[in-house]
Symmetry: C2
Subunit: 712 residues, 2 copies
């Protein structure tokens, strides 16, 4: 090419570029005018309606039917088959890529040739009563193979024998009460523990949704600590990663454990001797609930023996990861993830959630086929081995920790989509509150007789948050599902939604047949959601959040809501501390720094959203600068040093309390330190720890405020 024609080409190129830019600028300018005030911009909303309307109850029913025919415990062939089927269907739905991501993690199974059970033995060691080896199988599933019997995964092996002691719910406070008030030490005995308030039900399955007497809950009994695979804490369980020895594994219990149904429990409890416990220790079984140790005089030569042969073994698991690369910001990720592995069929847990996620993927594929592509990358995940301690999701988070920290905007969880027939339940980070309310106003109630009513209004009517505000209640994120590594370890804004029971009248944990063989497709279709419209609503909530987070120009997170929540939490923890007023004065403990940090944050959040209103949305760099501040807001609450003694629980505002794993306590460091006060031998030291935790929390909230101030 001559120099002159080279220059011509360059000018032509320039002309084309300028013309293209002009056009782009025009389009950008046009839309800019409309979008800078609210969260959901017009473009996204248009697609939102199409996206939500595409989701069909009949499709969700199909997905659930298809994926609950066979047991698919993590690590089994059937669970791999379902993974392959999901991979293939997600591809057919139109995702750009769907990969299978394996890890080799420690799982735990009963020994196939030596079943676990608990026996009552007489003085000669003869077994006079044995607990059942399996649950009676529900009708229609009699010929199904590979139903794992009820067991406690990761239980230690052993055949301990001893006297039985009844320890109520087995909480710390129950053991304290036993030891301090009743003078009973459980060391050397076998304890029998009741679960939640599970006996309240009336009609058992298959006539109703309650637990039959032969049903028993599977589950893992690890000391949950956020590490994922116990042999590779902090690192992904990939083929070349070093595995610690079993004896160094984190969170593995050292005592044998076994779950039994209430028929078996009745037989073990009925002859127990010893003192009668307080009334609030008594359950609904027709026995006298004596504490023990051991049986009454008539049976005093009998004791209890556990026979536990459960094995730990390193096993390959499979996550399925599907992607829709973003059009404008491929390096920003919005994730929808839920597990696929089930204890047996997984009718509710997790396939009600997996079916919903499947329908969301299908609907997103439909939009793609119409030419839509989200602004940011969407990632869909079908996790494995959740039931063994959130392993699939945690290993993937460990594998991609750096990218996720730098790029993840939000994580929406897709575990069980229904646990009752009453109304919506949402647990999420405070910055998602506004979006949840906005979205649910655009979704219809699935309840019969509420035609035309929005999901928001239906939910509001049934679960108004009267203490705090006139709006539906939204819960804190607790733990126990796959969002944990994303939220509590990495600090990614997260949320979950499901249909739930009436929390005021139905005060049992989860749902009666939880983790039993009775969690079938029929259970859901007969009792929980005959028209599958409740599941559709859940699909619309989960999917709608995903789409708006991925496709809105300005990330729809609300820092003001975080400020409100922090204010409430800091006040409530300061109030809790007032129980120890004299000691607080003696040790010069003050919540002033925390309360002042919350004030700083509140002001920073307000100013940030004021600046957002004036954002010049046609300036791509300015939009990105503001979006980065929103994305990193949740990240600022992460302390890289972790909570005391819990390196993988790093969120300073939300973490499972170490004293009640299933509650999401706010300011967990302070909370735990305060709890320890009551039992600490060295009070001065314990109060120093309270002060230390307050200062860390105040510093973290201050840092979060700085994240929201103008960058330079």
């Amino acid at each position: 090419m001559s120099k002159r024609s080279g220059r011509l080409v360059r000018y032509l190129w320039l002309f084309v570029a300028v013309a293209a830019l002009f056009f782009l600028g025009f389009i950008a300018g046009w839309f800019a005018k409309r979008t800078h005030a609210g969260y959901t911009d017009t473009a996204s909303s248009k697609y939102l309606q199409e996206f939500l309307e595409e989701m069909q109850p009949s499709r969700i029913r199909e997905h659930l039917r298809k994926f609950t025919r066979l047991p698919h415990l993590s690590g089994t062939e059937q669970n791999l088959k379902y993974a392959e089927q999901i991979q293939s269907e997600w591809r057919d739905f139109g995702l750009d890529s769907v990969e299978m991501v394996p890890y080799d993690v420690l799982l735990s199974y009963p020994n196939a040739s030596q079943p676990n059970y608990i026996a009552v033995v007489d003085a000669e060691g003869r077994e006079v009563f044995n607990t059942s080896l399996a649950e009676p199988v529900p009708e229609g599933y009699e010929d199904v193979a590979n139903i794992v019997p009820p067991y406690s995964a990761f239980s230690a092996q052993g055949q301990p024998q001893g006297d039985l002691v009844y320890v109520n719910y087995g909480r710390t406070e129950d053991f304290f009460q036993l030891q301090r008030q009743m003078g009973i030490n459980v060391t050397g005995n076998i304890v029998i523990v009741r679960y939640g308030k599970i006996f309240r039900g009336n009609k058992p399955f298959p006539e109703g949704w309650n637990l039959p007497g032969g049903g028993a809950q599977r589950g893992n009994v690890m000391n949950m600590n956020g590490a994922g695979d116990p042999l590779t804490p902090g690192y992904p369980a990939k083929e070349y990663i070093y595995r610690s020895r079993l004896e160094d594994g984190v969170g593995l219990p050292s005592i044998p454990v076994h779950p039994i149904g209430y028929h078996d429990a009745f037989h073990l409890l009925k002859n127990m001797g010893g003192p009668i416990p307080p009334d609030n220790w008594k359950g609904a079984l027709n026995v006298s609930y004596r504490i023990g140790p051991g049986f009454t005089e008539d049976f005093q030569n009998q004791s209890v023996r556990m026979k536990i042969y459960t094995n730990n073994q390193v096993t390959r698991i499979y996550n399925v990861i599907g992607r829709i690369p973003g059009a404008l910001e491929p390096d920003r990720y919005v994730i929808l993830g839920g597990h696929r592995d089930a204890w047996v069929f997984g009718g509710i847990d997790p396939m009600s959630g997996a079916a919903v996620a499947h329908e969301i993927v299908r609907s997103a594929g439909k939009l793609l086929s119409k030419g839509w592509r989200p602004r940011r990358t969407i990632i869909f995940a079908s996790w494995d081995a959740e039931e063994f301690g959130l392993q699939g999701s945690t290993e993937w988070a460990e594998d991609h920790a750096k990218l996720l920290q730098e790029r993840a905007v939000a994580y929406i969880n897709a575990d069980s989509a229904i646990e009752g027939m009453y109304t919506l339940r949402v647990d999420c980070t405070p910055s998602l509150h506004t979006l949840v309310y906005q979205l649910t106003k655009q979704i219809l109630s699935p309840e019969p007789g509420e035609e035309g009513l929005s999901l928001y209004d239906s939910w509001h009517k049934k679960d108004n948050w009267t203490d705090d505000r006139d709006a539906p209640r939204i819960n804190k994120l607790g733990s126990g599902s796959d969002f944990e590594a994303y939220f509590v370890r990495l600090g990614i804004a997260a949320g979950r939604a499901r249909y739930t029971k009436d929390r005021k009248s139905e005060r049992y944990s989860s749902y009666p047949v939880y983790h039993t063989v009775y969690e079938t497709f029929e259970l859901v279709e007969k009792f929980y959601d005959p028209t599958f419209s409740r599941l559709r609503s859940v699909a619309q909530v989960r999917g709608g959040l995903l789409l708006l987070l991925a496709d809105s120009q300005v990330i729809p997170l609300d820092a003001n809501q975080y400020a409100l929540a922090l204010h409430k939490y800091s006040r409530s923890i300061a109030t809790l501390a007032q129980r120890h007023l004299a000691a607080m004065q003696e040790h010069q403990v003050s919540f002033d720094s925390l309360s002042s940090a919350v004030d700083n944050f509140t002001l920073a959040a307000r100013h940030f959203h004021e600046r957002l209103l004036n954002l010049h949305t046609a300036n791509a760099l300015q939009v990105r600068v503001m979006n980065d501040q929103l994305m990193y807001l949740e990240r600022t609450f992460i302390d890289p040093l972790g909570l005391p003694g819990r390196p993988f629980y790093r969120h300073v505002i939300f973490a499972p309390s170490s004293h009640n794993k299933y509650a999401g306590e706010s300011f967990p460091g302070i909370y735990d330190a305060l709890f320890d006060i009551e039992h600490a031998a060295d009070q001065a030291r314990a109060w120093r720890e309270v002060k230390r935790q307050i200062s860390i929390a105040a510093f973290t909230v201050d840092a979060a405020a700085v994240t929201l101030t103008p960058p330079a």
Copy 2:
């Protein structure tokens, strides 16, 4: 406003926006064509020349003269005065903001009324010899107050008495040799240790640049661990942050320590008894260098007593932080930081560096006055309390950890700018190599007789890196200066540059009068840099790096250079391991995963830079997406769990080795684990640790490779 006129206003607004966009687009398009191939784009280069030429030797001389008149130990009034002067002058130079940032940290000072010294005492406890209480003060400084005598900061207090043992350099291997080969246990004795190879000099100051016999090196004797303030590890030492008790402080030594000059050492050594050590234990003093314990028979009733009254105390320190907010990306930071506190006058350490930084700020202010503003935010820092364990810089890094992790592009260190008269010395992260070479080709050599020669060529001639490549040697970043928290803890690309001695012939540590009262303005002017043109060259290197990192459209970091370095390091550590071939086979240790990870990284880096060549530089979002990958590259090498037992050393590729604090070892986890092999009681366990460290390193390098692949 009527609906119609509202619409009119909206259309007018749209027209203005479109016209402005057109203009912006045109400008962007125009420049896009020129900038997308190389590192240093035209715009920056134009300003680069102006920026470099503005820096004047005479100005640097002035700055140095001004800031070395009085001692300014950290925590003293004079050091605050200099901070205020710097703040005020930086404001005058034109920085947009300059703030004073205080922290309250643990420092350590001699007791003003009870001086520290070492005595030889006779059987009756009478002191027959005392070491000197101060250094003879250099001419011209006789009337200066507040010269702190030589001491070891953070030494324990105490008056121990015992026999002297000579332990060579006091390295781990020296103590091993004493115990295992000579059968001498030092427990209960006082040890005398020689420093580096400091006795080699000939003409002492003021006739030459060597150490007089009365000079002794101040310094801190903390067990350096990256924590900054020993009482607030992991958190900034702000007013509301909880401080641990002194006995829980991290890194504080438990034995008394004291530095002495070689005249005093001669008196202590000359009468020592016991065996004669190997020749390589002998220094240049005219004594027989016996090991001890204790003195010869003639003096056997004499022993040695240390009298150390040094106090730890929480003291307020002051960083000065100046800013130039970036025009386009205010949320991207490039930092130039160096300390201000000095043991006495700080003629070299640190004021030669502070004078250079001052001149860089002045030159940047000059550019600002001409209408320039960098693309990214530039931050200038004058750190306090570096001499007490990098405290000012570390506390600020802890205070702003979240923002720095999310936003910092690079950190350039500005400690002592000269330690010899020979050539340039650069220590930096591999991704800065290319930029350092490019920049030094645009700077002139300061050496007399090299007029017209580039700094690069002068440097190349004197210190060619013949083993690795035909280019000037660039060193790994070690430790011991303020970049540490930024590089080793936070993973921010970092570098330092200074003028140095001939490393082949001048094999002593740092420079002879290091940390003595003889570090004066006159020392620099008479011996190190009479024309101040060497310091000017250092200013141009440090300043040039800063400007190009802050102002180039594409961040001038080179991932290919990182790949080369990783390749070299992984090969060399695998070679080191070959010493234990049989054991490696027995324990199935392999470096394959690491070497394969390095290959993956190499490929990813190459492809990344290929994509960079085709970057559409007019697309602001695309440029940012690529720049984010470059910025986060160094970050991916950070392991949040830290190196084993060293939570604040988190860089998997570079960290001070725990066995030789002053060396920057690559793959420190593997290196340390291998070192332990030789001394481990449980070999199987030690090899497991080697394997674990290899797998962590391989995983980290793999994650770095993923950072450089296309985002979705």
